[in-house]
Amino acid sequence: MAPDTLEFEESIAVILKEIEALALLPATEARDRQMESHRGRLESTRAQLYASLTPWQRVQVARHPSRPGFEDFIARLFTGFLEIHGDRRFADDHAVMSGFAEYHGERVLVVGHVKGTDTKAKIHRNFGYARPEGYRKALRTMRLAEKFRRPIVVFVDTPAAYPGIESEERGVAEAIAVNLRDMMLLDTPVIVIVSGEGGSGGALGIAVGDRVLMQEFAIYSVIPPEGCAAILWRDPAKKVEAAAALKLTAPDLLKAGLIDEIVPEPVGGAHTDPVAAARMVDEVLARALTEVSALDSDTRLGRRYEKFRNMGRVGIDFVEEGR
């Protein structure tokens, strides 16, 4: 098996190959000692590399093909998932999944983008690019949760809403807009976790909630770096510069007051240890859900509004001249 490494992880790939080669040798004490030393070197190399990732490198980690996605989190954090299909208008969008599940003994609705893992699944899931029906299904099922007073947990991981003819014909913009407005008033706790790519309106369309959490190496951006580079630099190759300029990393979002908390990831990214990654999400999610659930409706909804209302701060993001 080829080591599952990114282009900037050359130093890691080399060590992984050495470990693989050793694994093929007959098991001896000397071999095991050598493997152990390689593993130690792997960990320290990873730690060093991941301590100072560039924004573009973070984009690559967020898009890593083996990065744990919605289905992985459902399997590891929830039990008894029962998927609910369709928007009752046009179709069932496969890029967004929604269903009932149990989380620490409590019934919750889980909603999220799905990108798919192998080629067949990726095509089935449209690579996580949701059509209008996906946003409408999300809201329809969230209303069910509201009606029966069940909390909602949302996982966000999409490159963007699907930019195609049928998307436009069936009003993808309207679908997202309605979600932004109506999720603000949903009378039940809503916890959002940006777990991979927070791709613009396609991400935000299911990401209005009481708490917005973001995994350490996830990204959240107004436009993909490639698109930004093509428009502003007129050169898609300037994606590295664009990724830096857009301030799309979790620490950037936290600093700007646009997310509430960063969920740490295993060294080397969630894909290197999905079990540990899920455990880290669990810790923060469980706490956030408990805290938000303790609030009465008016307080919770008032705070949700204020949270988004205060995005864009006087004296930090803009000034009032002539006052």
Binding site: G164, E168, R181, M184, S200, L232, L248, D298, G312, F318
Partner: protein
């Protein structure tokens, strides 16, 4: 795009029918070609002049200026783009928000300015529109937003994106208060503006042949690797697909808005108290949720 701007000269060639039109004739016809009814672009101040009685209004939050929160720099610093746009338009950002009367109905109107970085929405646009909506809730006035924008402003990153949620949140409160909101979509209305307040009007009214969409036509062509059909993402196409309530000639726009506002409960008075009374239904409805 540039072709639809009115230059400083005395004459202009209509981008629709190539007719040479005398500038003053165009202006008196609200920048609509007298021959082919092509709608040329209108700046934000002219838009307000067309809608408000006597062409006058009270402007709000005129002094809001972006601080360039990301210290953004592409081929040109964002600060320089802001300055160039201010020099070109006399505005500090891409929207003017004001109150005045529309056929006697006291109304908040926000008009977007395309000449200011493509009418893009950053923190200042988001804040000004949100404050306008909040003011409307306090005064019980209707809201009209005239959209003309390429979408969220890249140079303010995710902050721009979040203005979509912020404005939609304020519109949710306006809706809860049973106050009218009319969205007027003009050429072009795309991206994060379409996917937020532009599509949430009690009425969504477009000018003829305006480009309206979420993804830009070029992005879609690249995705599907096909040429798009003629008229795709134009007002008439959206009307046919059920996304718009009306497509209205600019010269009829004010009358149609006033008519709609009356349906929605606004009444004509000469005083500033021309507010919409909370109805018995609203009072008996669910409690307001804003803290």
């Amino acid at each position: 795009m540039k072709a639809s701007r009115v230059p400083e000269g005395l004459w202009i060639k209509c981008p629709g029918c190539s007719q040479i039109i005398y500038n003053k004739d165009l202006a008196t016809n609200l920048n609509v070609c007298p021959k082919c009814a092509h709608h040329l672009r209108v700046n934000a101040a002219d838009r307000l002049r067309m809608l408000f009685d006597g062409g006058s209004w009270t402007e709000y939050d005129k002094g809001l200026v972006s601080m360039d929160p990301l210290a953004f720099n592409d081929t040109k610093p964002y600060k320089a783009r802001l300055k160039a746009s201010t020099d070109a338009t006399g505005l500090k950002d891409a929207v003017i928000v004001g109150s005045g009367s529309i056929d006697g109905i006291q109304t908040i109107v926000a008009a977007m300015e395309y000449e200011f970085i493509g009418g893009s929405m950053g923190v200042v646009v988001g804040e000004k529109i949100t404050r306008g909506i909040e003011r409307a809730i306090d005064e019980r006035w209707p809201v009209v937003i005239v959209c003309c924008s390429g979408g969220a402003r890249m140079m303010e990153g995710a902050l721009s994106l979040m203005q979509m949620a912020k404005i939609c949140g304020a519109l949710a409160q306006l809706d809860r208060a049973r106050l009218p909101y009319i969205s007027v979509l003009t050429d072009p209305t795309t991206g994060g503006v379409t996917a937020s307040f532009a599509m949430l009007g009690d009425l969504n009214i477009a000018e003829p042949k305006a480009l309206i969409g979420f993804a830009g036509p070029r992005v879609i062509e690249q995705t599907i690797r096909q040429k798009l059909p003629e008229g795709f993402q134009r007002s008439e196409f959206l009307l046919q697909k059920g996304m718009l309530d009306l497509v209205i000639d600019r010269r009829e726009m004010k009358a149609v808005i006033a008519n709609a506002l009356r349906f929605m409960g606004a009444s004509q008075t000469d005083t500033a108290a021309a507010a919409i009374a909370p109805t018995a239904v609203a009072a008996a409805g669910r409690p307001a949720r804003q803290a």
